[in-house]
Symmetry: C2
Subunit: 197 residues, 2 copies
């Protein structure tokens, strides 16, 4: 018996990149069901009084984070290149992410968006970049965009972010198993163990 | 060939507690020499615009931290009780910590102070608590207090904190191997591996 794990991520979030790359494979190996839950950190940071990523607000933390992330990606074998834009605008990718979760292609879509951001140096707010990813996954970009930009889907993303806040989430990646919260890519294995126990 | 590892901690810092408990044994097992370097987070937090621990400034992070720390301590087999006072005044313990490092009893002294703080619920700024610890270690409290409170030792602690800042340190525990910085108890094994490689 395993409990489902909710994986909370923002497509602009740096440490969410290695977590997203490992999530599906780790969960498969443990027999854990994952709910892929894109949300937006921006409104949460604003509520903390930050109008930017805390890694930009506190530059000494930012310098450390980029070096730490580089070491983590190297240890895990994932490519990494510091993006020119940070943080990127992750709104449209998150809206599509909800549709991807509905239609069962969240893991691959999510990984491609993170690779575009942190390996290929692409702008993930660019329709062309998102179109290329959707085509790779044999999805019709026009249909997906229309569903993603529908008013009810926009509201869904707001509700998802509000639910994150209600669970005590303040950063990404986060993992919840019921009401038990784990924060950070360095808690991913612990969260999976909690699910599987 | 291993490179020495500098272990930076503040006696008030929560995640420094499990790191301090593991440090000596892990380093012995890897053949790594550790420099025990108490410093003060207070002046660093003030420079970030916080007049209190960020876990108090951002309560949602604080709620998470206490739960996370409880889980970590349980997994490692260390006792844990949330202190009534947080953060504690770690100034005098840090001054004594410098003397303990000079005289070779830093590991045991450091562990006892963290146990007093996070297991026994003691006030680590209290002379009586520090005296009890020094006696347990067969040190003469009067002599140690006199050396700890000497003007040149007070200056040494300021210099140690300034050196931490110059290395890019912004939190505790931190670990440095040369100029390579690792932050957080969850980076302790990685820092040791870096030392030993």
């Amino acid at each position: 018996m395993t409990a489902p794990l909710d994986f909370w991520f923002d497509f602009a979030s740096t440490y969410s990149y290695p977590a997203a790359m490992r999530m599906e494979a780790l969960a498969q190996a443990k027999g854990v069901t994952v709910n892929w839950r894109p949300f937006l950190l921006g409104p949460i940071f604003v509520a903390h009084g930050w109008n930017d990523s805390p890694f930009n607000v506190y530059p000494v933390k930012g310098v450390y984070m980029w070096r730490d992330l580089e070491r983590i990606c190297r240890d895990l074998g994932f490519g990494f290149r510091k993006p020119r834009i940070f943080p990127q605008n992750s709104l449209k990718a998150a809206r599509i992410g909800l549709i991807a979760a509905d239609d069962g292609f969240a893991p691959a879509f999510t990984r491609w968006v993170y690779v575009a951001n942190f390996v290929q140096g692409e702008n993930i707010a660019d329709d062309h970049v998102l179109t290329t990813i959707l085509k790779k996954l044999d999805r019709d970009p026009e249909t997906i965009f229309a569903r993603a930009m529908a008013p009810e889907n926009k509201e869904r993303l707001k509700a998802q972010t509000a639910e994150a806040v209600s669970l005590g989430i303040f950063g990404a990646p986060s993992f919840t198993v019921g009401t038990e919260l784990f924060w950070g890519s360095d808690r991913q294995d612990q969260a999976l163990a909690w699910s599987a126990k």
